[in-house]
Symmetry: C2
Subunit: 453 residues, 2 copies
């Protein structure tokens, strides 16, 4: 739904609420999707929230609640009675309830855990043990479990009996008595199976793609893309099935990861809030430190220029090409570095590929640098009317700059990754700053030799 | 599966093949996932492909085939008899078959269409009519359709009868006799429904999120993220259901989109091939034109510097801060521009928000620029021992540069979007080049006024 539609909806709900037309209000809300209703709640004054919230049927209410931002969840909880809060917690899937506990301040967490049913509380505490960015941290424990010796009929009975509480039953997981994962069977294949007495282990898929609780959440999400999955089972150290990660969570993780990479490539600290939800202070905090750090790093380029002031004074035209050279170096470095960063993130490039990657980037750099140098040489002579030796200095620098930049742009993220630093910190802005200094050093040294300064 | 595992597997299959142990080869292949087997096929010599391919059961063979790169598909097709090709096409989902027809050269397409069953051929021709990047272009026509007046029992019978050929039956779509979409019902809710005589229209979800055939594929994919869907129905101009887009396709589209944004932000033409599959020529073609274009654009900054050569000669120390100032401008511009580009892509920012966005970016820019200027002023006086008027020139330029850069970084992508150009072309590299020139103009003009040059 677009912003305008949300706005119209908000006005409509406000009018119905003011006129106390609660039945119509309820009817209207039931026709809407949870994410759209959540968008309306985000902008509601705090005192209006509980009234509207109470009007929704409890499953819809829980769905809307799970979609709210932590700030709005907190505001809404303050307006709910303990009994109402209990109803919401009961309806929430346990992974959403765990996220809630992770986001709320201590006093609210205490209220939530006090209202949760004992087994929900146990599952939440179980899930809280895993790091937030691991498969264990994002999984849900509400999956459908079957036994290998069940027949199709028994399996369908089990699903009808227990399926209602599960986050998904499209895939059911087959485990032994000791809970080790032995196979997966889709609801589709159960429904389509003609022989109701056929045993599950006769046609289940035993070749299950699974992860462990400690697998990184991004690595887990890439499996969905690679294998076209709807859910991935999560096993513990003893291969026992402890949870599943579903495709909707995987999509959010993949999108957050891409946003994070893009933020880092643009000299910003990553954030997961939409643009208009960020405060001035949020935006300032994510931008100013990086600008400051990069500005201070640029000190080296100033130092290089100041130590070659005499050369510049002798051939002042050299100054004119400084931005062009440093920009080209920065662009060439960004190309390599973002190719490598994305390759590492998608699992296409590994540490041991370094020699192979360097050799590729070396050849590309020579080709690109050569093309630029030739075009630029012609331009400098024909349009800028520069003397041949000066043009030679600029163009030789171009080739070397592209070469050094693309090699540094390859080496730095791979090295960062090897020593356990996120390769994305080596993204464009930092590479640009590093490359500036090397470009200037190359430029002035070539000038010194060719122009005898 | 990691590259090393693929390598081990390849050696194993090669050995079994050389020893003509075909039964073991078949057994081994059946334990593997289609994407992993596809990775093995990618590196196989062409003459080995048909032998291995024939050994697989036909449904696995079709799955593997759909995962192959177009080059490998073409090579494999050349080794298959017409009868074998027919078997593959029959097993392929119609959206994968359509992709195949779109990618193959004309002679191969002719063979494929000749072997396809008449109704498959009709569906392929139907799908080929839609633009490749629209919902119509990525949808499949193999969905499960139900009628509103069916009972649960009738619906389950229909699914058992026709479900096997459908790409997914986890969601079934409810249509009227004229095929207008009226609701959606999940296989889950059908299975869990206790009353087998209950009519579908009594509990189906009538609030269906759908798209039209012409909806952009990226917009379609964002709906999966927003609403947590497994499939989205696609309707034509008369609201008749013509196909569905499934979540696995949506994930690929979202990832390709992120890759595309990252490529454009790093001055590269986007590509959808993994790093090591790209040839030297591919890499060169995606990088050199952008480097060249940006290099030529940098001509303006050279022109500015050359026209202020006298001022620079008079106060040579000004040169030393050129890279720092242009880099900071570039970084500040990138921050705004990538925030805006991503905001537009995710549907958070629209054209009419421009005044609001500009006002936010204006305030952030003043805050960031102010912070930088103060820090830099102290640094210039204490560490660089620069005269106060020169330091003032540098720091005033800093504030103005950050301001102009962030405003341009906001204005350009929004404007591009308004006039129908992809806002991502305004990403970091181009902004950096544009901002260089404005930074230098500001710098020299402030210097002229304050230092009376």
């Amino acid at each position: 739904m677009s912003d305008t539609a949300i706005q119209t909806l908000k006005n409509m709900l406000a009018h119905l609420d003011d006129a106390k037309k609660y039945q119509s209000l309820r009817d209207v809300m039931e026709t809407l999707n949870a994410p759209d209703l959540a968008a309306v709640f985000e902008d509601l004054p705090q005192e209006k929230m509980p009234v509207l919230f109470r009007l929704m049927p409890k499953d819809l209410a829980a769905e809307v609640f799970a979609e709210l931002s932590p700030e709005t969840q907190e505001a809404l909880i303050q307006g709910l009675s303990d009994r109402e809060l209990k109803l919401v917690i009961d309806e929430l899937f346990v992974d959403d309830a765990t996220d809630l506990v992770e986001e709320m301040p201590a006093s609210v967490v205490k209220r939530i855990l006090a209202q949760a049913a004992p087994d929900t509380r146990k599952m939440i505490n179980e899930l809280l043990k895993y790091p937030e960015d691991s498969a264990g941290g994002v999984m849900t424990t509400e999956f459908m479990e079957l036994r290998p010796d069940m027949t199709v009929r028994q399996a369908m009975d089990a699903i009808r009996k227990n399926g209602i509480d599960k986050e998904t039953i499209n895939n059911c997981y087959v485990t032994n008595a000791d809970r080790t994962l032995v196979g997966v069977v889709s609801l589709r294949s159960l429904v389509l199976e003609k022989d109701e007495d056929r045993r599950i282990d006769d046609f289940m898929d035993t070749n299950v793609v699974s992860v462990t609780t400690s697998t990184d959440q991004e690595q887990t999400s890439h499996l969905f893309e690679k294998y076209g999955l709807l859910a991935v089972p999560v096993v513990d150290g003893e291969k026992r099935l402890v949870g599943i990660v579903t495709v909707d969570d995987a999509i959010s993780i993949l999108q957050d990861e891409a946003d994070e990479d893009i933020a880092k490539m643009s000299a910003m600290a990553p954030t997961d809030k939409p643009y208009f939800r960020r405060s001035m202070w949020d935006l300032y905090k994510s931008r100013a430190p990086w600008l400051l750090f990069l500005m201070v790093s640029a000190t080296f380029s100033s130092m290089v220029i100041r130590s070659y002031e005499d050369a510049l004074a002798a051939v002042t035209v050299l100054t004119a090409y400084i931005p062009m050279l440093t920009d080209t170096g920065g662009n060439a470095g960004s190309q390599s570095t973002s190719t490598i960063i994305r390759g590492i993130a998608l699992g296409e490039i590994h540490g041991r590929d370094l020699p192979r990657v360097l050799w590729r980037e070396f050849r590309i750099a020579i080709l690109c640098g050569g093309t630029l140098a030739i075009c630029n040489f012609v331009k400098l002579l024909v349009f800028d009317h520069i003397a041949v030796p000066v043009a030679a200095v600029v163009c030789l620098t171009l080739v070397l700059t592209v070469l050094i930049s693309q090699l540094l742009g390859t080496l730095l993220p791979v090295t960062a990754n090897r020593i356990g630093i996120d390769p994305a910190v080596m993204a464009s802005p930092l590479i640009t700053t590093i490359v500036d200094t090397t470009t200037l050093l190359v430029y002035f040294n070539i000038a010194r030799v060719i122009l005898h300064l």
